[in-house]
Amino acid sequence: MIEVRNLSKSFGTVEVLQDINATFAKGKVNQIIGKSGSGKSVLAKCIVGLYVPTKGQVFYDGRSFHEMAKEEKRQLRQEIGMLFQSSALFDSLTVMENVMFPLKMFATKSEREMRDRALFCLKRVKIEGKGNKYPAEISGGMQKRVGIARAIAMNPKYLFVDEPNSGLDPQTSIVIDELIQEITVEYDTTTIVITHDMNSVMGIADEIFFIHNKKLWWQGTRPELLNSGNKELNDFIFAGSLMREVQKAMKSG
């Protein structure tokens, strides 16, 4: 479980987040949604410690991240897996080497055991045949899968996923979404997904956090989302043509 308490973040004089309070449950897909530039990625970066919040704290299973010593933070980060928007795979390493990377840096296993673990992770994301390819030689969807394989290599307790569907076709998006959901259940991770893709939200979100006007504007589950009665939230979720059709259908019973 991850708790965010009274978190604010400013860049110079520009305030991006204001007094955010949220609890992200274990074994659930927690999705943070909001318009582009609403600060959802900044919130995720504050939670993982890439940004230092101007105010407030983040707790990982009761442990305050910002009060941890440097070494404790490094230890905690080995429990975090993250899939980046750009996949952030290392270009000079093959797919297999990318997945083995965190194991080589931290795990006390033999080369054979590390290779077996990496192969298991690649099989889990159904991309085991691409181990010898370089990231530039595989598609965007495959790169996301490799990113997920790398993120789960160390058996993470916490999984962060930033815009998993960006640049992907709808079918591949569904595959990636399902993979995130399956891994969350399988590894019992506290999963936080940053997205503005409503298909993804309607597909896999267990708990939804809507960031608007620097604040946590609304929080609820999928069934509550469509009937929230919240104007700003409705403006956001029903902006797409597909969701507008859903809205029309709901209104006409």
Binding site: L50, K73, L76, R77, I80, F90, M105, F106
Partner: protein, 246 residues
């Protein structure tokens, strides 16, 4: 204020770079790779420049001191002194700042804008140490070898130009390069080389590491890496010369 900010941030980055590595074996493997990329792959340009610079110094010296009062061996002496004292350690380092510095800044800058450095940080890897320390060690170890090769080739280039054009005899040239030789100038040149190598690696890595934006900014960081490395090398060259030779 901006200068103080950058100097402060540079030293804070260096503190991160020199903190305890996660896996020494991985750092060492990366150092060997960097020695190949940043050092061995620069051998061609260093050799070519050195040969021609030695040749040009010989011809320039001969045409400018063509007097019966000045002995012929002065040509060889001048080539040796200018090569060892300044040309090889300083000019070659300035050229390496252009080649190696821009490579370092572009590589690290690209990793920054493509979130690969964030990925390292989130894994708990000391990204500054993992990316920068092997480059510093690699350049500090390999550049002295490059400079020694440069010294030999420059002096050889001078001999080649002098004897092929017939402006100086081989015996006079060799007498010149042996005349009044003080081995300390080699030590002086190598100390400068190591300092310049560290400047190239760290200033360029600093520029790349703090790149913000996209591909355009990576290009800007590469340019800044070369310019600032050159400026710092020139300042340090003056200070080291005063410190070591006076």
């Amino acid at each position: 204020m901006a200068l103080l900010f950058h100097i402060g941030r540079y030293f804070m980055l260096m503190a991160e770079v020199f903190s305890k590595p996660e896996r020494l074996s991985i750092y060492w493997k990366r150092t060997l790779e960097e020695m190949d990329l940043l050092g061995i792959k620069s051998l061609g340009i260093v050799s070519l420049l050195s040969l021609f610079m030695g040749a040009v110094i010989t011809i320039q010296t001969k045409t400018n001191i063509d007097s019966p009062l000045i002995p012929q061996y002065v040509v060889g002496f001048t080539v040796r002194q200018s090569t060892i004292l300044e040309f090889s350690p300083t000019i070659i380092s300035l050229i390496l700042a252009g080649k190696v510095g821009s490579t370092i800044a572009a590589e690290i800058g690209s990793m920054r804008v493509r979130e690969q450095i964030d990925a390292l940080d989130i894994m708990g890897v000391n990204s500054a140490g993992y990316l920068i320390l092997p480059k510093i060690i690699a350049t500090a170890l390999i550049n002295p070898f490059l400079i020694i090769i440069s010294m030999f080739l420059s002096i050889f280039g001078g001999w080649l130009a002098g004897t092929l054009t017939g402006i100086i005899s081989s015996a006079d040239y060799i007498a010149g390069i042996q005349y009044d030789f003080d081995p300390y100038i080699i030590t002086y040149a190598l100390i400068k080389t190591v300092v310049f190598a560290v400047i190239i690696a760290t200033v360029s890595a600093y520029q790349g590491y703090y790149t913000i934006g996209g591909t355009r900014e990576v290009g800007i960081s590469s340019t800044k890496a070369v310019v600032y490395s050159d400026v710092v090398i020139l300042i340090m060259n003056y200070l080291l010369t005063q410190l070591l030779l006076l």
